[in-house]
Symmetry: C2
Subunit: 116 residues, 2 copies
Amino acid sequence: MNALNLVSNEQLAAIAKAIAHPARIQIIRLLLSKPSCIGGEITSEVGLAQSTVSEHLRILKAAEIVTGEIEHPRVCYSLNPEKLLPLLDLLQRVASSQVTNDEACCVSTNDKMVCK
Amino acid sequence: MNALNLVSNEQLAAIAKAIAHPARIQIIRLLLSKPSCIGGEITSEVGLAQSTVSEHLRILKAAEIVTGEIEHPRVCYSLNPEKLLPLLDLLQRVASSQVTNDEACCVSTNDKMVCK
DNA sequence: TATCACTATCGTTATTCGACGATTTACGAA
DNA sequence: TTCGTAAATCGTCGAATAACGATAGTGATA
């Protein structure tokens, strides 16, 4: 058992939800491509209204996936990779699960349920 | 450039959205813990109404994150890890990004934007 | 054919989300 | 102090989501 099991379904779902929007994925990719703080550039890149982008940034900040430091007229946004680790962990587990399940559906468990 | 860049923001968001609910995370974890096909056991484990769980399974199947094979009274659900790989790739990139960004906010890019 | 066990679908309701324009806030510079 | 720029917040609207009970479908078995 590692850290994943200490994270609730609700917490994992909240992380996924925070990134479950094209505009927010785009923002994450932008921050990934430029380790600089692209303040209001995000707004023009995303192509939505300023208030809408601000709302997406608010959601990402609330989930602590990005951080924002004020650099006066602008705000410096950066990624906070740590917050994504629990979800990364889950996905890695799924990816590395022995899925020869194409035909191996219904492997017998303890005592019941054998199927095919 | 690897496969990630060929995946649209919309596709990545759709994957995240499909798993962005506590009940669906729980289902994924259940399928991860038992490589067997736990048919209607999912319903009792999740603790929501049968129709609600069926709907969550429908969403996961529509996103091709799980597959369902009919084994008569029941349905055998299995994980389809491949579908999650694009999101896994993105998260790995974020996790491995050089984030000494605590203080390194505003690293200079090509020509502009230096900040602090 | 009739029954059963399980799953999927339908219809409804309450809540949340996403987008926008308009407004407000915050602060540096003139 | 006033102005200008960038970001955040507010209010509204329509669309999407989540949950449920009730109902319909499906196929094995009696």
